[in-house]
């Protein structure tokens, strides 16, 4: 690799590190400004002891300050792991960190993610992989944080035994996930971006079955903040504008060209737009995803709260790793039309989250066209309403679970159809 290219990568790393640290710092400052130091930090501590299953909006539970500090803490944990593993900051790690921070507004906490990360590390040790090779799995696998919380605080255990059993459950979970993650990639061939969503959903099916067999009943949770505040409403649009500004500053006169080039990629895993095109173009794309996502919520009159902001942060992150406006709109259209056909409100929590997270199926539209993307979105909405209860709400990436299953169905059908006329004359 040339010295010029090495310098470009070093600059990319510096830009992203500064940007990510700025986002995390902004979360802390905004949180304290919203609720004050004492309330924010006491709320943050309270959040560590919540079951955190779907849907547990931390904003509704402990307020804006505690939620933003929790998100920053989870993000800092992820960033430290990336730096320790000496992995380059890129589209994949950018997506992982923003996803972690987003889901820390409604489920992830530093306490419930660490045992899972340690379990992934142990799995790597067993098969002779370095932690850097399993880093992406470790970061995304934190979707099963609520499994740790559920075992620790909801199963009737107390004191040290609760902590020990909960931590043990998290380590075992993390230990088993890499094997599943690699296998389920082949199910959908990379056409669902949230592969760990399918991985964790698959695992959580078994975990939930064991919990139910042992007599545990999952109580439905629906904490959903409804009163919009200016901080919650403008947080993502402001962040998006900052990302677009940074992108234009970084890419300079190539901004438009790189952005257009990104729209031409299918988005199929792994599509690291920062490598394939440029950091600047990827940040502009990420910012546009955030702006259009926010605009959608405003237009339909939806709520800005922990889960929806978490969703917006996730699509911003994946704006550097597979999602763009061109491959997203057909899938979102499919979800919207399906909700109208089945008489569901666009502002209902499940539908609203599906409209944001369905962009996991963007590569279906990117590779097979608008109609395929629309059908995928339509199926996704129907399925995602069922998958949450199957897995007891312990897998935070429920849309990733449903999206992975939908992509598997679509890929199977398309591959089967394309197998016609393969014999020789």
């Amino acid at each position: 690799m040339s010295i010029f290219k090495e310098n470009v990568i070093a600059n990319q790393n510096e830009t992203l590190l500064f940007l990510l640290m700025f986002i995390m710092f902004s979360f802390i400052v905004t949180g304290i400004a919203a609720d004050g130091v004492a309330k924010s930090f006491s709320g943050f501590l309270e959040l560590q002891l919540r079951p955190a299953r779907l849907v547990s909006d931390f904003v509704s539970d402990q307020g804006i300050g505690a939620s933003l500090i929790n998100a920053a803490a989870v993000g800092i944990t992820g960033l430290i792991l990336i730096l320790v593993a000496k992995v380059q900051l890129s589209g994949a790690t950018f997506a992982a960190l923003l996803t972690m921070m987003g889901f820390a507004l409604f489920g992830k906490t530093p306490v419930n993610i660490l045992p899972i990360i340690f379990g992934v590390y142990l799995a790597g040790k067993l098969v002779g992989k370095t932690f850097s090779q399993y880093l992406i799995i470790a970061l995304f696998a934190t979707a099963l944080g609520p499994l740790v919380s559920t075992v620790t605080v909801e199963m009737g255990l107390t004191g040290f035994s609760a902590i020990a059993v909960g931590t043990g459950a998290g380590i075992i979970t993390g230990f088993l996930l890499p094997a599943i993650a690699v296998s389920v990639l082949h199910f959908h061939q990379g056409y669902s971006l949230y592969n760990i969503g399918l991985t964790c959903g698959f695992f959580a099916l078994f975990a939930a079955a064991f919990f139910r067999a042992s007599g545990y009943e999952f109580q439905g949770l629906m904490l959903w903040h409804t009163s919009n505040s200016p901080i919650l409403t403008y947080m993502v649009p402001v962040l998006s504008v900052i990302l677009i500004g940074t992108g234009i500053f970084t890419a300079g006169k190539n901004s438009w060209k790189d952005l257009v080039a990104i729209q031409k990629h299918t988005g199929r895993l792994p599509s690291d737009f920062m490598d394939l095109e440029s950091v600047g173009g990827s940040l502009i794309n990420a910012g546009l995803m955030g702006l259009f996502g926010s605009l959608y919520i405003i237009v339909i009159g939806g709520d800005f709260n922990g889960p929806t902001i978490g969703g917006l942060l996730t699509i911003i992150g994946f704006g550097a790793f597979g999602t763009h406006l061109r491959n997203s709109w057909p899938v979102v259209a499919g979800v919207v039309i399906a909700s109208l056909v089945f008489g569901k409100s666009l502002t209902a929590p499940g539908v609203l989250l599906a409209a944001i997270f369905c962009t996991t199926l963007g590569p279906v539209a990117g590779a097979f066209g608008v109609v395929a993307g629309f059908i995928a979105g339509f199926i996704h909405l129907v399925l995602v309403h069922q998958t949450g209860s199957w897995q007891g709400g312990m897998n935070l990436y429920n849309n990733g679970f449903a999206g992975g299953l939908t992509a598997t169905l679509m890929v199977s059908m398309i591959a089967w159809y394309r197998s016609k006329n393969t014999s020789f004359k």
């Binding site: 690799m1 290219k5 880093l135 990639l185 061939q189 792994p270």
Partner: protein, 126 residues
């Protein structure tokens, strides 16, 4: 993953790439040692300089252990869609892409930490 499976997936991905342009002939040559291997693939289709450059860049991209360790498992498993040489590029030691007569020659060297250049026909300046 057993070495045999790894080799099969490598051959699958690179040959899938070359078969997309429907060559009349495709030659695959493999040389294995304990610590590494050399895979050479040739076809007889014409390729432009720009194509050669793109292939070279994809196969000699920066090593990405975090992507190779996870998404690298998709190498040679493509059921749908075009092949992706960057999946290979993240994993290999070195690649050479050259034009030979009417076709292309792609040399790929892969190995562990104990990989020894002199056991293979790697050009001296690599």
């Amino acid at each position: 993953m057993k070495r045999k499976d790894l080799i099969l997936h490598l051959i699958g991905e690179i040959s899938s790439f070359l078969l997309e342009s429907d060559p009349r002939r495709l030659v695959i040559s493999l040389h294995q040692e304990e610590n590494g291997l050399h895979l050479c693939v040739l076809d007889e289709n014409p390729h432009t300089e720009e194509e050669l450059k793109e292939i070279d860049e994809a196969l000699n991209s920066k090593k990405r252990p975090e992507l190779a360790g996870y998404y690298g498992s998709m190498t040679g498993h493509d059921m749908l869609g075009s092949s992706r040489l960057n999946l290979l590029g993240w994993q290999v030691k070195h690649c050479d892409v050259s034009s030979i007569g009417s076709g292309i020659k792609i040399d790929i060297w892969l190995g562990g930490d104990a990989f020894q250049n002199e056991q293979f026909t790697i050009p001296k300046n690599r």
